[in-house]
Symmetry: C2
Subunit: 193 residues, 2 copies
């Protein structure tokens, strides 16, 4: 079946680790739960090809989707500040796969929203780092994947301290008590060979 990936349609994305790919893996930190196998490169595929067979050492898949917690006010603020992926100065990237606990997923929408934003300020904190830290969220849980979310960040190398600060703040909040697996993968655009 052909799928059109127009504005707003879910975009499938595959992150395949191995010996090839446009991104060099600088580090991989197992923060919680089971590890992923080490690899030296990461290849990112978008669109129909992203639903295909696994390649390389491991392949993680997700889909960009509709907003799950964001209000109109938050969306308007974010849109006015955020930058897209692929900026020429954004030589660094991070891929942070996380899984949340069964207790998180058993909660109804209002309780998850309250922890996510009213108590943990996830969106508000992230917005403080715009436009320096560009971000794209991929949903994986409904695909039967080992992680629930794959968040991809892009930034200039000189903004990495800001990125560390952003992560430290999010990880210190109540929301992160529900994260039961997390791996922090840092990347750099691979130069010409």
């Amino acid at each position: 079946m052909q799928t059109a990936y127009g504005a707003g349609a879910p975009l499938p994305v595959a992150f395949a680790a191995g010996d090839e790919g446009a991104w060099t893996i600088r580090s991989m930190e197992i923060r919680r739960g089971d590890p992923l196998a080490p690899a030296i490169r990461l290849d990112v595929t978008e669109g129909d090809g992203a639903r295909g067979a696994a390649r390389g050492s491991w392949t993680l898949r997700g889909v960009t989707s509709n907003m799950r917690y964001t209000t109109r006010g938050e969306a308007t603020s974010m849109t006015s500040k955020q930058a897209g992926l692929g900026r020429p100065q954004a030589h660094f990237a991070a891929l942070i796969p996380i899984r949340k606990s069964p207790a998180w997923w058993a909660m109804p929408q209002d309780e998850r929203r309250a922890i996510y934003e009213e108590r943990s300020r996830h969106t508000s904190i992230g917005m403080e780092y715009l436009p320096a830290i560009a971000r794209r969220l991929h949903h994986s849980r409904d695909l039967g994947e080992p992680f629930d979310f794959l968040t991809w960040f892009e930034y200039a190398p000189e903004d990495e301290p800001q990125f560390e600060h952003l992560l430290a703040r999010l990880r210190a909040r109540e929301e992160w008590e529900y994260v039961d697996r997390e791996i922090d993968i840092r990347l750099a655009r691979a130069g010409p060979i």
Copy 2:
């Protein structure tokens, strides 16, 4: 990769139409958008097998997932009233695949919730028909499927007028203005051959 389908974990489900299956198709009404090919039987597969290859005339796939709009209060009311699938007296079923418009999906969470419940009373109306009409929702949009949702209903034949009433009320509300494809498939448990 092995996936455990424990309590609360997303359960993949495939609905395959063709010449075989535990359900006889009584009728198929194209309410909005493109049709599906006619078929005489429907086979329902749950778990890992549901992610496999398409079979028969057409196969629609979805995943049971976490609640997207339901509040704690609503969830508690529903849990106290609703019945499970597979009741012996529930000889009739309905499969209603729907797709919502790009305008729906572009809205942030608070605006979709307001239309879904505060203005269209989707959950409240559905609860009036519990436990007679059992229901299970499957999410399909992030899987790259042609529909966004597959809702499966089970009820006793004598409750079909109630079911018609439920559908008429939901379809008359603002939420349904965002439905751009809908097919209403009615089924009966196939007897011994």
